[in-house]
């Protein structure tokens, strides 16, 4: 195993930790954080495997920077939506029609 593979496995781990939390937690804030952590996991897989025998492939780095900006945009919108949901229903959860 190489260090690159080790990090790729950590990325897979982060993806599934996030997925578990997304399914299990009720409150919207940890669920939004869970999606962010899943994203970090995917980004780690992309960048870790970019370390090749003859050097580092810069294309995944650029993709991940794009991904980070997309993630912060989505998070900003999600947090605002969460506030509106909390305002309208009195709780920052989606409990009224069951969980996913």
């Amino acid at each position: 195993m190489t260090p690159a593979q080790l990090y790729a496995l950590v990325g897979i781990g982060l993806f599934f930790v996030g997925l578990y939390a997304l399914g299990v937690r009720q409150h919207l804030l940890p669920r939004i954080l869970a999606l962010n952590i899943m994203g970090s996991g995917v980004f780690v897989v992309l960048v870790a495997l970019a370390r090749r025998s003859d050097g580092v492939d810069p294309v995944p780095h650029a993709m991940v920077i794009t991904g980070i900006v997309v993630a912060v945009s989505a998070t900003a919108l999600a947090l605002r939506l969460m506030l509106r949901v909390a305002h309208a229903t009195g709780s920052a959860t989606l409990t009224d029609t069951g969980d996913e």
Binding site: F15, L19, L22, L28, R31, I32, L35, M38, G39, G41, V42, V45, L46, L49, A50, V59, P60, M63, T66, G67, V70, S73, A74, L77, A78, L81, M82, R84, V85, A88, T89, L94, D96, T97, E100
Partner: protein, 486 residues
Amino acid sequence: MSGVSLLVQPVWLILLPLVGSIMVFLLASRRAAVGVAVVAGNLALVAGSIGRLGITGPWQHSVGGWGAPLGIDLYLDGLSATMLAMTALVSLGISAYSAAYFSAAAARHFWPLWLLLLTAMNALFLSRDLFNLYVTLELVGIAAVALTAMRGQREALVAAMRYLLTTLLGSMSYLLGVALLYHSTGSVDMVLVGEAPIPASVAAAAFALMAVGLLLKTALFPFHFWLPGAHSSASAPVSAALSALVVKVGFYILLRLWIEVFPALGDGVAWLLGILGGVAVLWGSLQAILQQRAKMLVAYSTVAQLGYFFLALPLVAAGGSRVWGAIVLLVIAHALAKAAMFMAAGNLLAFAGHDRIRDLDRVVQRMPLTAAALGLAGVSIMGLPPSGGFSGKWLLLQASLEQGNWPIALVLLLGGVLAAVYVFKLLEHIFTSGTPLGEPRAVARTMEWAPLMLAIGAIVLGFLATTTLDFLIIGEPFVPGRRDDY
């Protein structure tokens, strides 16, 4: 480069609605007028692209001049042009409706978001780059959620939140699949990835991740949990856009992946998706029959109709491009009919102040156009001749009988019967006669004409089925591999 060829570049389909969105955002007034003009311009650009496609065949545009695999290629063939045309037509209907539907305060928020959604869908249908598709998928998803939430009511907010979590989860799953493919093949161009050797286990994992991500966005049973809430609680034109166009986007990418990237998928996968599609048809139809509110009924009908696209997948291996063509016909027919139905349901809601089906008596006298739109759209949804829905289902029925695939034929017939039950449940109350009770609110004329025109479109598609099928195969979108005739 001559002026004409400069104008029919596919990038205009992305730039026009984008600039339009920024314009209506900065404008103080006349947002609806500018918005409708931009969407009409978009339709003209699509028509120009179709004309060029018919003359010179498929073509590509290498953004930045680099070309795949280093750069990103836009690509236009019969399939992408058909999707663009469907989007442009339905968008124009929705825009005309929206111009009358929204108050000035709501229009301020609606038009910039709506034009960005159009930008995103156009960009998506033109892209052949797996990572670029991820970015466009996020654009479509975020725009769709923002439009759903815009209405501000409690149900809409909760549904939008659930939709957002689902669509972001779908994007993450899709992107992880892209990561696996990129590192196995050294490219994110769909055709190059498809031609590279991929270890079987990696291909299986990548397909599973991308397919689950896209199915979440397309709401195939059992991933449909978010759809009825979101599609029924949004405002009427947004519901129409979500049900008619946005859910198709995930299916379109899946179709491209199926053909270009994973041509070696076994029968097992086709059957798995086919069974889920069949369950979706039956379950969605039964739920639609049980609903008490018009918009919920129409939303569950979407769950059912989406099922047909997947139900047909087991026929693809032996049926080839004829079956794909039939599926795309169903996609278009559903887009036209469902946009019409949601807008007509919006009219019922605006007219009566509620959409409880059993209290919707005597609508036909006051809104004959809306009632006609519901009836015609219902014909296509049920799959009765002549309509786009009929042509698509008829072709699928033929293919399944030729292949001796009786379970699929059975579900096709049963789905049609169930659809008839829920469509007539909706129509029966509207077409009751008698004197109208109370003084209902008036509905603007464009809000009646827009759904009627789209519903007529769904019927006309039945007569244009052969033309559409011939156009669809320009550039052989249903055969894998790079074709160098552009």
